[in-house]
Amino acid sequence: MIKVEGLFKNYKTGVVEHVLRGIDLEIDSGESVALLGPSGSGKSTLLNCLGLLDSPDKGKIFLHGQEVSRLSEKERARIRLTELGFVFQFHHLIPELSALENVLLPASLLGQKPTERAKHLMQRVGLEEKAHKSPAQLSGGEQQRVAIARALINGPRILFTDEATGNLDREKALEILELLLEINREQKMTLVSVTHDSTLAMRYETKYSLQNGILKKCS
């Protein structure tokens, strides 16, 4: 479960930009949540704070009851590695490695090599036949599927996606979204996605809209 209390975040780029202005949020375990909003509204900033990639200026974030907003970078990295998964708009797969090796990379940070699990995940994202291909030999949608498998390798309880379908055509975007939601349902894993596409956001259980740093739940 994710709980946020009075979250503030400012950026100082010449003038102070108030990106998040007192966000309060609660997300249940296994829930799928879409964060909607126009470009520059602060949804990625919120996601970064929730995913422990960035620190809020003020406020508290709780993950499964533990306050995580003031942890050291080492502790945050540990939580990201074991509890959280990320899929970004650009997959950033390592081009020198095969798809399967890319999937195994986060596990190797834990000193593990769960090859069978990686193969199972490749199968789950529909790429078992292409496990040994390099990312350059895969299409954009397939690369994003590998990135999803990579995000799932350490068995995270929460998966964050930031415009994960933003770089794909409509058909591929829907396929990826379906895959994410299926995984969310199967594994009862919390899914928090940032998107600016309200049509895609309709597929999520809960939708929030962020405008001028204020978060509102959509009906």
């Binding site: 990639l53 797969l93 020198e96 190797s108």
Partner: protein, 413 residues
């Protein structure tokens, strides 16, 4: 983190772009170029250090051999003792032992005359009796002189010279040049001569002459154990054995046995100082060359910062990232140092075969320089190269691991 997979990934990350079938991107080109600059500059630094160390060590080894050839590996100044005392000590030693005395002399050759430092030497052993010398050599004392002296006197081996020994012998004496040697140092080759003491004594005895009075028969002893003059440990061990023996036999409470290097301490100290200065200067240059490793690591990072920061987002800790960058720096240092060592070996071979380095003949009487690659020394150079790259990489790793993930991945970059 230091698993086989990460080493393999690092290798592919650094060197495997083209092999991975990627189109050659700007990133690949920049990374490749900066990597090669780092490798070549590191190799040049390590290579120069290795080359110079091998050169100086070779030079020192050669000169030590020459000096030892003249002075003997070990010497002891007994201070004018009798023939009997020296013989008694020599009998207790299993390897060749020579007694010597020193004096000034004047050699007169066909071309010119030269003042020399004369050393009369007698090898101890059963055959060292006048009766064992053949008739021809019995007539005339035998002389060993350096090459430069022979050239300036205009004399060749087998020819006769006149020698004057002021304070030792009245009148002049005919001596035969028995051997012409090169000891490496001009000072030895041009100014020192060795007179066979037994042949001199036998000649004087046969001709009814005697040497003028001296405090004793011999000034000291030269020892010839089968130990390389560069094997300091074995020499020092033999020094202890000899000191004990001398104490017992000659009743010298504090016998001073010296190695040939110690007898030429100033020269070898000077050489050691030169070597140290050169090593420090080249060490700094190597360190400066290794700064290119930092440049390469920065380029690699900034060309692929999103890939690296994605890994950070996926849970790579700052420490793990530092280690990964250190692995990259280590690999570059290892490869650069290896290239440098290979280059240094190849250059040394070329210079030695081609006799490309010649020394000033007025100082050193060496035909050309021989390189000596002593493995502990070269291992030190190699490790220094790798350690320099690691040291520089540590600084880079520390700086880069402090970068914030959102600064790279965020939209507000």
């Amino acid at each position: 983190m230091l698993t086989k997979e990460w080493w393999l990934l690092t290798y592919k990350w650094l060197f495997g772009q083209k092999k991975a079938g990627q189109e050659i991107r700007k990133a690949s080109y920049l990374m490749g170029a900066s990597l090669w600059v780092a490798l070549i500059s590191g190799a040049l630094g390590v290579g120069a250090l290795s080359f110079v160390r091998a050169l100086v060590t070779g030079f020192e080894t050669q000169l030590a051999l020459g000096v030892s050839d003249f002075f003997g590996p070990l010497s002891y100044k007994s201070g004018w003792r009798s023939e009997k005392e020296h013989e008694l000590l020599a009998q207790k030693i299993s390897y060749p032992v020579e007694s010597y005395w020193q004096g000034q002399g004047l050699l007169v050759g066909p071309k010119t005359g030269r003042g020399v430092m004369l050393e009369g030497r007698r090898m101890w052993g059963a055959s060292q009796q006048c009766s064992n010398l053949n008739n021809n050599t019995n007539e005339i004392p035998l002389l060993t002189i350096g090459q430069n002296l022979a050239e300036s006197l205009g004399v060749q081996a087998g020819q006769n010279l006149k020698i004057l020994l002021p304070g030792l012998l009245k009148g002049s004496l005919n001596v035969k040049v028995n051997a012409i040697k090169s000891f490496g140092l001009q000072e030895l080759d041009a100014r020192r001569v060795i007179l066979d003491d037994l042949s001199l004594r036998c000649y004087l005895k046969a001709s009814g002459k005697t040497l003028m009075e001296r405090p004793g028969d011999y000034l000291g002893l030269r020892f010839y154990p089968k130990i390389s003059p560069n094997d300091e440990v074995a020499l020092m061990s033999e020094v202890s054995v000899l000191q004990k023996l001398i104490k017992e036999t000659l009743r010298d409470a504090q016998p001073l046995v010296k190695t040939s290097k110690e007898q030429n301490r100033n020269f070898f100290k000077g050489l050691g100082f030169d070597r140290a200065v050169l090593s420090v200067v080249l060490g700094f240059l190597t360190l400066a060359a290794c700064l290119n490793v930092a440049a390469a690591l920065f380029v690699i990072f900034f060309e692929r910062d999103k890939d690296m920061m994605t890994l950070r987002a996926l849970g790579m800790s700052p420490l793990q990232m530092r280690r990964w960058i250190l692995i990259q720096g280590f690999m570059i240092g290892l490869l650069g140092s290896s290239l440098g060592m290979i280059g240094s070996g190849a250059a040394a071979l070329l210079f030695e075969k081609g006799k490309l380095i010649r020394l000033p003949p007025e100082v050193y009487n060496l035909d050309h320089l021989v390189f000596s690659f002593s493995w502990p020394e070269q291992l030190g150079v190699y490790l220094f190269g790798v350690a320099s790259a690691l040291f520089i990489s540590w600084g880079v790793a520390y700086l880069l691991s402090r970068m914030k993930i959102v600064e790279v991945l965020g939209h507000r970059r």
